[in-house]
């Protein structure tokens, strides 16, 4: 035999009869569903009414301006970004507490995680929202911050937090979401910390580093590197989960979509459109993260 001959080609993957049947039944289902909607329900599709809520033509200024659904999308994005930032802070703290010797800290962090994971999200959000809006915000004086509007009326503020009039509403949404997602981040961080080999702790202690420095200089940098992929996934989950804060009247995409659906009575169009908007948003982030991960893997020695 000739050593230099090319390796045999791998067997081709071919579609079988079962695959064709599956495709056919999926298409059949879609056709049937649209037939039911069009002919049995006698539904009149009207996409243009709904599209007008993404961008509309302003007669007065003679230009195209963003409308409700775009505002909602922007709020959802802001919620996701701030929610992730706070959830990460909560998650790193609680995740570390999950791994310490101190029993009190372990009980606190464990209770937090179990509480969030074993109550339906809606119920948790209602309870927590009640606490925030009736106790926390009045105590902090959130509504009185910056009465004169020096900071609030700047561009940067609008981009970061949206409409100042809705600030406490927005912050409540961020906090609810962060508390909720923080529990899942906690578990990711805990797994990351525990995945750092024991020898790293010992070597760091052996050169006399303080507890804080062991964590800050040696353990967390390695743990965080390991948890970047699951954290990216959690960020996308958070975008989807953000829809839940529409229940406490946070004016994000799902909340505004409910209003649009009610005013236009075009229920199917609205929700299909909103679904597409979420999909584009989440899938773009998924592609971005996958790309970043590939780049990081390549640059690693």
């Amino acid at each position: 035999m000739d050593r230099n001959s090319p390796p045999p080609a791998p067997p081709r993957k071919r579609l079988t009869i079962v695959d064709y049947l599956l495709f056919a039944s999926v298409i059949g289902l879609i056709v049937f569903a649209s037939y039911r909607v069009n002919d049995v329900l006698v539904y009149h599709w009207n996409w243009s009414r709904v599209f007008g809520f993404i961008i509309r033509f302003d007669e007065e200024t003679g230009s195209w301006v963003a409308n409700l659904l775009m505002y909602g999308l922007a709020t959802t994005l802001r919620l996701a970004v701030w929610g992730t930032i706070f959830a990460t802070i909560i998650g790193i703290l609680m995740g570390y507490w999950r791994t310490v010797d101190n029993l009190t800290l372990r009980i606190i962090s464990r209770s937090y995680v179990e509480l969030v994971r074993n109550i339906p999200p809606v119920v948790f959000i209602f309870i927590f929202y009640f606490f925030i809006s009736s106790q926390l915000f009045p105590a902090l004086g959130v509504d009185d911050i910056d009465r004169d509007g020096y900071i609030v009326n700047t561009w940067a503020f609008w981009i970061l937090f949206g409409d100042p009039a809705l600030l406490s509403n927005f912050l409540a949404g961020v906090l609810c979401l962060a508390m909720f997602e923080g529990a899942y981040v906690t578990e990711i961080v805990r797994a990351g910390i525990q995945a750092v080999p024991k020898g790293q702790w010992e070597a760091a202690r052996a050169i006399g580093l303080s507890r804080t420095n062991v964590l800050k200089d040696v353990i967390l940098p390695q743990a965080l590197r390991k948890i970047l992929p699951p954290m990216a996934g959690q960020f996308i989950t958070l975008i989807k989960d953000s829809a839940i804060v529409s229940l406490i009247s946070i004016q994000e995409l799902t909340f505004l979509a409910t209003e649009v659906a009610a005013t236009t009575t075009k229920v199917f169009e609205t929700w299909i459109l909103v679904g597409a908007m979420y999909f584009v948003l989440c899938y773009s982030f998924a592609l971005l993260f996958a790309w970043l991960e590939r780049r990081a893997a390549r640059s690693r020695r």
């Binding site: 080999p197 020898g199 070597a203 202690r205 052996a206 050169i207 006399g208 303080s210 040696v218």
Partner: protein, 250 residues
């Protein structure tokens, strides 16, 4: 070889340790004086690692006392970091910090603990890297080095803290045979400069060359303490004889 008036650096008296109900160490008594080199050997599971890990309290003992340079170490000790800075440790599996360059591995301890400037720490690190003969690798990451080089970096990292005593836990057991000599050479140089050393190893050549005393352990107890020549040629206990015959048998 040993100065009779040297002060005791590590004093272990009546030390016992349990893992749950399992007695890992029982009634350990050992004093190591300044400048002395002690080799610890014994069968696998005899408690060698556990004993030296108690000295810098990576493991807590439950009975007896351990003094390092006159200070008693215990799990309750507030300033345990202070003791650890005086005690360098080298592990079987190197345990370099993989996310840092070689240089950063070395400067981390001094900058964080000794409060010295980046520049000073750098000079210190380069000095020790030269001593272990790998100064040219300073900017690389641990994975880019061979096992032997990594272990020498680990030795330099411990030395950067200017420890009073160095602990080695089977520093050459994880190395390919051709890497062992380089690490042992560094350790021999260190010994010749007068460093106080406690070395868990089965390298008999090393023990013969540098050890003042050999400590033989079995089942969590110190069975025999002797000078290397005497221990290797004429061990007193049956267990040491058995251990040596097995070691030489291979």
């Amino acid at each position: 070889m040993l100065d009779a008036h040297a002060k005791p650096l590590v004093e272990i008296t009546g030390m016992c340790k349990w893992y749950g109900d399992f007695s890992a160490l029982f009634d350990i008594n050992l004093t190591v004086h300044e400048g002395e080199k002690v080799v610890v050997c014994g069968p696998s599971g005899s408690g060698k690692s556990t004993m030296i890990r108690c000295i810098n309290q990576l493991e807590a003992h439950q009975k007896g006392t351990i003094r390092v340079d006159g200070v008693e170490v215990s799990p309750e000790l507030k300033n345990i970091e202070g003791i650890r800075r005086e005690v360098g440790m080298v592990f079987q599996s190197f345990n370099l910090f993989p996310h840092m360059t070689i240089l950063d591995n070395l400067t981390l301890g001094p900058t964080r603990n000794r409060g010295i400037s980046k520049k000073e720490a750098r000079d210190l690190a380069m000095h020790y890297l030269e001593r272990v003969h790998i100064a040219e690798q300073a900017e690389k990451y641990p994975v880019q080095l061979s096992g032997g080089q990594q272990q020498r970096v680990a030795i330099a990292r411990a030395l950067c803290m200017k420890p009073k005593v160095m602990l080695f836990d089977e520093p050459t057991s994880a190395l390919d045979p051709e890497m062992i000599a380089g690490v042992l050479d560094v350790m021999i140089e260190l010994a010749e400069e007068g460093m106080t050393m406690i070395v868990v190893t089965h390298e008999m050549g090393f023990a013969r060359k540098v050890a003042d005393r050999v400590v033989f352990m079995d089942q969590g107890e110190i069975i025999e303490v002797a000078e290397p020549e005497q221990f290797f040629s004429n061990p007193q206990s049956d267990r040491a004889q058995l251990f040596l015959s097995q070691l030489l048998g291979h």
